[in-house]
Subunit: 324 residues, 2 copies
DNA sequence: CTGAAAGCGCTTACAG
DNA sequence: CTGAAAGCGCTTACAG
């Protein structure tokens, strides 16, 4: 607003050419006479000069910004992921543009398309659906760099960085069994994400006699409550509930408590993700915590070209709280 | 990646000048021969042409994107606000860039500064501190359009759109009293936001004998739990707890329940904001819901210049749930 | 209605 | 080490 100073203004004020002023200010090239450099810096300071990012991006053919597309910003887990990505990105001097797929592959395809109207060099995407997100992601890859994060979709050939769900399930189950729990119910969902499918498969591979599953239509608090009601209808309760998502654990625990069940005395409850929700209730819930900063960092490295795109899985960490 | 088609490519393919191609594709000017227009459209389609947004922005001196800066994306209330703003903005064809102040006025000042390196025409900001955010916001206003949302800071002269906290407190208190509650404890925080100060003032203006206050160091779940412990130490409980934020209500209710207090039989609990957290616990919590889409809409109108910047306060709506 | 030309504000070979 | 010039890809007065 109101005549923002331009590079030419600075150059004129410092008595040099735009080339020289640019070399000093953009730091592209160190070969500038120190005396001139000082004059340019002084003029720039005096005029309150800031390089126009749009002009710079046009010339450099790169904005230095990246997008992140998540299934839903209402999901606290993705908020944490976005937060981690933003922190890592800002630390590396790159900006982040956020978008939300509304948990819908069609909206997702639309957002992917909209990113081309946006000012980003590439995109980190958490696919909404293993089966139905691949095509649109593949199309986006033809236009710019795309890395999948946390979940993958079939047909999208880009790099992937996520958590090792198999190792995660193993860690939680071992924790429950070592603390004496003998009958674990896995509370998960019949859902479209690769993460959900991997967790269920990992549990099944390790299930023993007495273990069982409750599969709900989706990952949500109300689904967790529904699972609690299913358990309460039975004669005996299992002594551990391994929930495949934090929201499930919170809903389950909250309803069990309201009906007089003691956690962890009667039943241990665990979550999966490591969101703030776990500390919202009393007792706080034991859960895996995903290494989100590391995940974000690797994804950004691939986006920046520092690391070749590939398949990366990082181990989650168990955080023991009062619910087990 | 890989030779994206340019306007010139389209023009050549259609056998027209760049001027004509631009007029057709950018929709700037309708005065184009229909025959030529058809050829341009066909060529554009065939080549998969998308206007380069950076070049367009440089020429137009406007990106069509706006930023939103919130105190913390970890706070579910701000997530809802950002979500509403994004939906409204996308509906109007404008993009949104998100940033986070980490609840710190210094970081906030830094982010405000960083937005100038970003690709936005203006900025919606939720100040972290009434007293300490004004200067940096005022500085940002000299460079681009800035509107304050949800909270205001002294010294920032921009427009403001938020909720009517006085009307909100009145609505909740009336609801509690009409449902027979006689001794209400206000659970709030000594904090720096204008919203917190307004809510407390509104409660004090309406308090009766028997009503009281618990003021905590900040708005958080653990503060809500601390409030519950303070109440539990007393001989008698008040029959209603009016919490000035959803997180306080969730923490309070959760700990009261764990200690055997019945909600709402023994005590009614209300929240303030309307986040998803309210439905996380059992019973779900009665609370005000802020008209976030309307707030976002008015803020965007001011940013776009459709509406002159001014002071706007909108009424929150009471959503009654099982906790009262 | 259409095209040649200017110009948005930068950066970067290219000469000197 | 420095500057004149080209050019990133668009849009838009300006002539015609």
């Amino acid at each position: 607003m109101g005549g923002r100073a331009t590079l030419l203004d600075v150059a004129v004020a410092a008595g040099v050419s735009r080339s020289t002023a640019s070399r000093v200010l953009a730091g592209t090239d160190r070969n500038v006479d120190p005396g001139l450099a000082k004059r340019v810096l002084a003029a720039s300071e005096r005029l309150g000069y800031r390089a126009n990012p749009v002009a710079r991006a046009l010339r450099r053919q790169s904005t230095g910004n990246f997008g992140i597309l998540v299934p839903s910003i209402r999901n606290p887990y993705f908020v944490h992921l976005v937060d981690a990505f933003t922190q890592v990105a800002n630390g590396a001097g790159v900006g982040v543009v956020l978008a939300d797929s509304a948990d819908d592959p069609d909206v997702e395809a639309q957002r992917l398309e909209a990113f081309h109207e946006s000012f980003v060099d590439g995109l980190a995407v958490v696919p909404t659906s293993t089966a139905r997100s691949g095509a649109a992601i593949h199309r986006a890859e033809e236009r710019s760099q795309v890395i999948q994060v946390d979940r993958w979709a079939t047909g999208a050939s880009s790099g992937f960085v996520g958590v090792d769900n198999d190792a995660g399930i193993d860690t939680v189950l071992t924790h429950l069994r070592e603390s004496g729990r003998e009958r674990t119910v896995y509370v998960g969902a019949e859902q479209e994400s690769s993460a959900g499918a991997e967790r269920l498969a990992a549990f099944r591979a390790r299930a023993r006699a007495g273990d069982e599953e409750i599969l709900l239509p989706h990952f949500s608090t109300s689904a967790g409550r529904e699972a609690a009601h299913q358990l309460l209808r039975r004669d005996t309760l299992p002594d551990a509930a391994l929930c495949a998502a934090d929201v499930l654990a919170v809903g389950l625990l909250s309803t069990l408590q309201k009906e007089g069940v003691k956690v962890p005395a009667d039943i241990a409850v665990t979550g999966f993700d490591g969101t703030d929700l776990l500390e919202l209730v009393d007792p706080p819930i034991t859960a895996l915590r995903h290494p989100l900063h590391a995940i974000a960092g690797r994804a950004l490295d691939m986006l920046l070209g520092t690391e070749p795109p590939g398949l990366v899985r990082l181990d989650p960490e168990l955080v023991v709280r009062a619910s087990t």
